[in-house]
C-alpha cells in the first residue's frame, strides 16, 4: 500500500520536475534523430565513423568549457569540421576508411585530454570531464532546447532529402553512379547529418556513450524487420523509449539508497539499449531455430539449413 503510494508520489515528482521536462524534450528529439540516422549508418557500415565523430565532438565540447561558450556549439562545430576532414582524407574508399577515421579520431581524443586538463587547471570547470565524456541529461540548460530542436530537424531534413540516393548507393555503388546519383555529395551530406546526430546525442548522453544510441536501436530495428521505412520508425521509437525510460530509472534510483545518489542517466539509457538488443537478438535466434526445425520436418531447405 505504502509502496504503491510512494511509487505514485515519486512518479508525480518525476513528471513535475522542470529538470526532467528539459531532459525528456531534449532527449526525445535527439533520440529520434539518432535512431533514424543510425539505420543508415548501420546499413552503410559507418558505425566506426559515427563513434569517431562523437569522440571528435568532445574536442569541441571540452574546448567550449575552456572559452566559456555553450557545450552544444562546441560539439556541433567540432563534429561537422571533423566530418569534412574525414571526407577530405578519404572516407569513401573502403581501404582508406578505417585508417582515415582512426587517425583523425586518435588525434582528436588527444586534444580532448589536453583541453580537459586545461579546463581543470587553468579554467575552473572541474566537472568538465564527466559532462563531456559521459553526458548530463539532467543538467542541461533549458535555453538550448530551441537550438537542439532546430538542429534535429535540420539533420532529419538532410536525411529525407538524400534518402533515395543513400538507398541506391547502399545497395550498389556502381549502379548508383551509372544512374547519375551524386555519390560524393550524398556521402558528404550524410556525414554532416551523422555528425549532427552524434553531437546532439553526445550532449545528452556523452561523447563516449553516444555510439550506443546511434547503433543500438538501429541494429535492433534491422533484426526485427527487413523493410527500410519500418526499420527507421522502429529505431526512432526504440531510441525515444529507451531514453525516456532511462531518465525515469535514473531519477528513481535516487530513492534506492540512503546516500541519495542517482545512477548516471547515460548509463541507464545505454544499459536499456543493450538489454533491448540482446533480448531481440535472442528472440530472433529462437524464432530462426524453430523455423529451421519446422523446415527440416517438412523437408524444405531454408537459407539457414542450406548454410
Amino acid at each position: 500500500m505504502t509502496g504503491v503510494q510512494s511509487v505514485h508520489a515519486a512518479l508525480g515528482d518525476f513528471l513535475t520536475s522542470p529538470t526532467v521536462h528539459t531532459a525528456l524534450i531534449v532527449g526525445g528529439f535527439v533520440a529520434v534523430v539518432t535512431g533514424v540516422v543510425g539505420v543508415f549508418t548501420v546499413m552503410r557500415g559507418q558505425s566506426f565513423a559515427g563513434h569517431a565523430l562523437a569522440d571528435l565532438g568532445a574536442v569541441g565540447g571540452s574546448g567550449a568549457f575552456l572559452v566559456g561558450i555553450s557545450q552544444l556549439w562546441g560539439f556541433v562545430g567540432a563534429g561537422i569540421l571533423a566530418a569534412l576532414l574525414m571526407e577530405l582524407i578519404g572516407i569513401r574508399r573502403i581501404q582508406g576508411r578505417d585508417v582515415a577515421t582512426g587517425i583523425v579520431f586518435g588525434f582528436g581524443l588527444g586534444l580532448t585530454a589536453l583541453f580537459l586538463y586545461w579546463d581543470t587547471t587553468i579554467g575552473d570547470s572541474s566537472n568538465a570531464a564527466v559532462s563531456v565524456l559521459f553526458g548530463s541529461l539532467f543538467v542541461i540548460d533549458p535555453g538550448v532546447i530551441p537550438t537542439v530542436v532546430v538542429l534535429s530537424v535540420l539533420a532529419l531534413v538532410i536525411v529525407v532529402a538524400i534518402y533515395r540516393w543513400l538507398l541506391i548507393e547502399s545497395l550498389d555503388r556502381d549502379l548508383a553512379i551509372a544512374r547519375g546519383v551524386p555519390v560524393r555529395l550524398a556521402g558528404i551530406l550524410f556525414l554532416v547529418a551523422l555528425a549532427l546526430a552524434v553531437e546532439l546525442s553526445a550532449l545528452t548522453i556523452g561523447a563516449i556513450l553516444s555510439t550506443a544510441l546511434l547503433i543500438g536501436p538501429a541494429a535492433t530495428a534491422l533484426l526485427l524487420t527487413r523493410r527500410f521505412g519500418v526499420a527507421v520508425l522502429i529505431a526512432a521509437g526504440l531510441a525515444v523509449g529507451t531514453t525516456w525510460i532511462g531518465c525515469l530509472v535514473s531519477y528513481e534510483s535516487y530513492y534506492w539508497s540512503s546516500r541519495h545518489d542517482n545512477w548516471p542517466v547515460s548509463f541507464c539509457i545505454v544499459a536499456l539499449v543493450f538489454v533491448t538488443y540482446l533480448a531481440v537478438r535472442a528472440g530472433s535466434a529462437l524464432r530462426r531455430r524453430s523455423m529451421s526445425a519446422a523446415a527440416l520436418r517438412d523437408g524444405v531447405p531454408t537459407a539457414e539449413t542450406a548454410v
Binding site: T19, V20, T121, D124, S126, N127, A128, Y251, R259
Partner: protein
C-alpha cells in the same frame, strides 16, 4: 585516465628526485641554517611560517586561489621542492594524496611529516576534508609543528614554543568571535555549493539547508541529482535561506545557476576559499570569512570575493 596521468607524473617525479638528490640536498639545509618547510596547502605553510619565524623557510605547493585544489596534479618541480624539505605539512583525508606518493618516491628518514588528519585522529572515510575550517584543527597542527621544529633544531626549542603561544593567542580573536556569533545567530539557515566552510558553519551553529548529497556531488565533480537540484532551487525561490556561501575556486554551470538564483532572489552571497587568498594570514582569513557571513546576515551585504 587520471590514474594514468598520475603514473606519468610519478615517472617524471622519480627522475626529478634522482637529479635533486644527487645534486642539491646538501647545500639546501646547511647554507642559511633555516629549516626548509613545505606545506601542501598555503594555509598550512602559513601557520608553519608563523611558528618557525626567522628559523624557517616555508613555501606552499597549492596556493592559487583560482584553481580547484581537488584536481591538482603534482609536477616535477613540486617533487624537487619536497626532496629538500625537512618538515612537510599536509592535510590528509584524500585531499592531497599526491603528497604521500611523492614522499614515498623520495624517501628521507630525516624529513618530518605532519598530517592534519593524523594529528586530529580522523578516520580515512571522514566525509568533509576541509579540516582547516575547523577551529580545533590549526592549534593542534601548530603544536605538532612546534614540537617537530624543536626536534630539528633543539637549540631554538624555546623560541618555537613562544611563537606557538603567540599563535594560539592570536587564534582567540577568531574563536571568540565564533562563540559570540553563535549566541546571536545560531540556527540561521544558509545554502552552500560544497562543504568547504561547513566545519566553521557548524562551530558557528549555522543551519546548512543544502542536502549533503548535493554538496558531495559538487565536491566530487559528479552530476547532482535532479531531486537535490530542485530542493536547492526551492531554498532560493522560497527565500528559505539568509545567505548563500559559494566556493570561489570551483565553479561550473551548476554553481553559476545557484549564484544567479541568489542574485534574482536578493540573497546575499559569501565567497569562500579552499586555499588562503593572497594578502591574508590564516587567522585573518578565517576572521574575514566569518565577518563576511555576519554582515550578510545583519545587513544583507554580499562579499563575493575577499
Amino acid at each position: 585516465m587520471s590514474i594514468k596521468r598520475r603514473a606519468v607524473a610519478l615517472g617524471l617525479v622519480a627522475v626529478a628526485v634522482a637529479v635533486a638528490l644527487s645534486g642539491c640536498t646538501d647545500s639546501a639545509n646547511a647554507g642559511s641554517g633555516k629549516i626548509v618547510v613545505v606545506g601542501a596547502e598555503n594555509e598550512y605553510s602559513d601557520v608553519a611560517a608563523q611558528i618557525g619565524g626567522k628559523y624557517v623557510d616555508a613555501s606552499a605547493i597549492m596556493s592559487n586561489p583560482n584553481t580547484d585544489p581537488h584536481t591538482f596534479e603534482a609536477s616535477a618541480s613540486v617533487a624537487k621542492e619536497l626532496s629538500t624539505a625537512q618538515l612537510v605539512v599536509q592535510n590528509g583525508v584524500g585531499y592531497d594524496d599526491f603528497m604521500a606518493k611523492l614522499e614515498k618516491a623520495s624517501p628521507n628518514k630525516d624529513r618530518k611529516v605532519v598530517v592534519a588528519q593524523d594529528v586530529l585522529g580522523l578516520p580515512d572515510d571522514t566525509k568533509n576534508p576541509h579540516l582547516w575550517y575547523d577551529p580545533k584543527t590549526m592549534p593542534a597542527v601548530a603544536e605538532k609543528i612546534a614540537a617537530d621544529l624543536g626536534a630539528i633544531q633543539p637549540s631554538h626549542k624555546a623560541y618555537f614554543q613562544s611563537r606557538l603561544a603567540a599563535f594560539n593567542d592570536s587564534m582567540k580573536t577568531w574563536t571568540d568571535a565564533l562563540s559570540t556569533f553563535k549566541q546571536s545567530y545560531a540556527d540561521t539557515p544558509v545554502a552552500v555549493t560544497e562543504p568547504v566552510a561547513d566545519y566553521m558553519l557548524e562551530a558557528a551553529g549555522i543551519d546548512v539547508k543544502t542536502p549533503w548529497s548535493l554538496q558531495a556531488a559538487i565536491m566530487n565533480d559528479t552530476d547532482p541529482s535532479p531531486q537535490d537540484s530542485a530542493a536547492q532551487d526551492a531554498l532560493f525561490t522560497g527565500k528559505k535561506i539568509k545567505v548563500f556561501l559559494y566556493n570561489q575556486q570551483v565553479t561550473d554551470s551548476i554553481t553559476s545557476h545557484f549564484l544567479k538564483l541568489s542574485h534574482d532572489n536578493d540573497i546575499p552571497v559569501v565567497g569562500v576559499y579552499e586555499t588562503m587568498p593572497t594578502g591574508y594570514t590564516y587567522q585573518k582569513w578565517m576572521q574575514a570569512e566569518l565577518d563576511a557571513l555576519q554582515s550578510a546576515i545583519t545587513s544583507g551585504t554580499s562579499t563575493e570575493k575577499l
